[in-house]
């Protein structure tokens, strides 16, 4: 109430003689630019809605139980699904997270707790550089590191490629989240005689948990739809494969293969695959966000 009064008092009507009237040309320019900005917003939102609408429209129609439970059928036979690709994607992502998340969080802890010096700056700069490396180049590197040595494509190689992409993102967000924890919190722990590693793990890291998990999920969502680094690491597979050292199907690879094929049936399945992929990504991110908000993860 009081602030409202103050605000009213602050807006003193300016006497008309204080300012020359704004010319018509200037007013017209102002309106035109506002309209133009509004137009750009509409133009940007248009493809977004178009993509989502088309994805749902095309995807829902082709999504059925067979799609989720069967492997691809040979060309010409209707039916079949992407069950092996869905599982393959999950396996590859699990391998990637298993390697990328601990390393990324560790690097983040290093940057925030031990890296306020020249070495830290080097690591910081390098992770920003790594963030900008094109995903297809990461694929080449994983090919050289894993596939060339093992002499065959594998889910593991795909996991390595995706892990390389996850690490810098996770490291930088973890660092930013840890830096948000007040210095006094750490000092309180030290004052109680808690050792430094214990303070970092049980106090600092714990306080920043929800932020770090959000960062991890963003990194996860970013690599979950990646196709380029899997082309010559996981390679793809039309059949079930449970071994991590064999070529493995991935949802994104399957979508790519089907999308550029000349068959209508495969196009239909590509749309269904894309819908499943988006739902998996959004679902994973939403689930973790909700879990964090309700404190189940933060408390354990």
């Amino acid at each position: 109430m009081e602030t409202e009064m103050k605000l009213k008092a602050a807006v003193v009507p300016i006497p008309a003689f204080a300012l020359p009237p704004v010319s018509l040309r200037r007013r017209a320019t102002d309106h035109a630019m506002t309209a133009l900005a509004l137009l750009t917003v509409a133009l940007v939102l248009l493809p977004l809605f178009a993509i989502f609408a088309y994805l749902v429209y095309k995807g829902i129609g082709s999504l059925n139980l067979a799609f989720l439970t069967q492997t691809p059928k040979p060309v010409g036979e209707p039916g079949g699904g992407m069950a092996n690709a869905i599982v393959g994607s999950m396996v590859i992502l699990a391998i990637a997270s298993g390697m990328g998340v601990p390393l990324g969080i560790g690097a983040g802890i290093f940057l925030s707790e031990y890296g306020r010096n020249r070495y830290g700056n080097i690591v910081r700069f390098v992770s920003d550089v790594l963030n900008g490396v094109p995903s297809i180049v990461v694929g080449i590197v994983a090919y050289g590191l894993v596939v060339m040595r093992q002499k065959h494509f594998s889910a593991f190689a795909g996991g390595v490629a995706l892990a390389i992409m996850m690490i810098p993102t996770i490291a930088r967000t973890t660092e930013q989240m840890l830096l948000l924890v007040p210095q006094a919190t750490r000092e309180a722990a030290f004052a109680l005689g808690v050792s430094r590693w214990r303070t970092t793990l049980s106090i600092t890291l714990r306080t920043a948990t929800s932020g770090i998990i959000t960062g991890v999920m963003l990194a996860f969502a970013r690599v979950a739809g990646e196709t380029a680094p899997l082309l010559f690491t996981a390679f793809g597979n039309q059949f079930w494969n449970w071994k991590t050292d064999q070529p493995t199907a991935a949802l994104s690879l399957q979508i790519f293969t089907y999308a550029i094929s000349p068959y209508d049936e495969w196009h239909r399945q590509a749309w269904a695959g894309a819908l499943v992929l988006i739902m998996l990504i959004v679902g994973a991110v939403a689930a973790v966000r909700i879990a964090v908000r309700h404190g189940t993860l933060a408390r354990t």
Binding site: D30, F110, G139, I260
Partner: protein, 344 residues
């Protein structure tokens, strides 16, 4: 003795660079001295592990460079600098030149920038300066959703929606009105450089607009107020008070978008036509550095072929590193050291 302990238990937790909080430092140092019973071994192990993680990041970059450089040796020795000046790409006769791919990458990225820059700037200006507060959150969230869509899904949509639209409506129209420039001539296939540039533009809009927004936000409020107080209209305020102050940061945002565009692979591979040609018309099919890797790497027979592909990867890596480094410096110069929030 106490000296030694203090040096070992030295406290060097995060502090804002520049002004070091000496009082707090002394306090914690005394605290750790007073209860000198804590074993230091676990602390050393822990910090060792964390150092290892930090070193791993650097090693990773080293590995990438090593792999690319070693892998491309064969091709480098065979062609030298000529590799980047030749437009012959023939696996049968083992002749490799990267020129058509470099041309495709540069043209598609520039085309994407031409389309994306005005749109993203408009969106950023609208969200930070014009939009009602209630709309602001929703709009920035929705534009950032664009960044969460996987590249392959963009490609899928481009093949079945964008390309037919370009073929039926946009390209005939462009040919009729701007055909005389030579940029829009030839048969309107839909698939080609124009389609690649368009889908690429849609993909980099969220990056450019979100970083531009970040940059506009750090322009001090009193800059706006000062210009308004001189009797300017809102647009004049935006032009003189905001955009002019944020120029370097906006350029940085655009270059960051360029960095993303250069390395983008899947969506482009699906619509550019994949033909190593240098054509003047934007309707013609092309090929990019990333696309040739995506299409030919796993099928490359012969060591020289593979090595030539890896050399293209090395060039792509090098260019994106330079472009990104430049962009970060420019964004930093405006946001004053705070790194721009990375987009999904």
């Amino acid at each position: 003795m106490p000296n030694q302990a203090s040096s070992r238990l030295r406290f060097s937790a995060p502090e804002p660079e520049g002004d070091r909080n000496i009082a707090a430092k002394v306090k914690t140092r005394t605290a750790s001295l007073l209860q000198g019973k804590v074993s230091e071994v676990p602390d050393m192990i822990f910090s060792g592990v964390m150092w290892f993680c930090g070193a791993a990041v650097v090693t990773l970059l080293g590995l990438i460079v090593y792999q690319l450089v070693v892998g491309s040796q064969l091709s480098w020795h065979a062609f030298g600098w000529k590799f980047f000046g030749q437009s012959d790409w023939n696996p049968v006769s083992d002749q490799y030149g990267a020129l058509p791919f470099m041309f495709g990458t540069i043209v598609s990225s520039l085309l994407a920038l031409v389309i994306a820059v005005p749109l993203s700037l408009g969106v950023a200006v609208f969200i930070t300066e014009m939009s009602p507060a209630r709309l602001r959150g929703i709009l920035s969230f929705t534009t950032e959703l664009l960044a969460a869509i996987p590249s392959v899904v963009y490609g899928l949509w481009a093949i079945f929606v964008l390309v037919p639209i370009l073929r039926q409506y946009v390209e005939p129209f462009l040919a009729k009105t701007l055909g005389w420039t030579g940029l829009f001539s030839g048969a309107p296939y839909g698939i080609g450089m124009l389609a690649a540039g368009t889908i690429l533009a849609i993909m980099i809009i969220p990056i450019i607009s979100s970083i531009t927004r970040e940059v506009l936000r750090v322009v001090p409020q009193h800059q706006r107020e000062a210009v308004l107080a001189l009797g300017s209209t809102r647009w004049e305020m935006i032009r003189m008070g905001v955009l002019r102050n944020a120029r370097a940061g906006i350029v940085g945002a655009i270059i960051l978008g360029l960095g993303r565009a250069l390395g983008e692979t899947m969506a482009i591979t699906m619509v550019i036509g994949n033909r190593p040609e240098i054509a003047k018309s934007l309707f013609a099919p092309g090929y990019t550095m990333a696309s040739v890797l995506a299409n030919e790497f796993s099928e490359a027979t012969g060591d020289l072929y593979l090595s030539a592909l890896i050399e293209i990867g090395l060039a792509l890596f090098f260019v994106t590193i330079v472009v990104n480094g430049l962009a970060r410096l420019m964004v930093w110069s405006v946001t004053r050291g705070q790194p721009a929030r990375s987009v999904v």
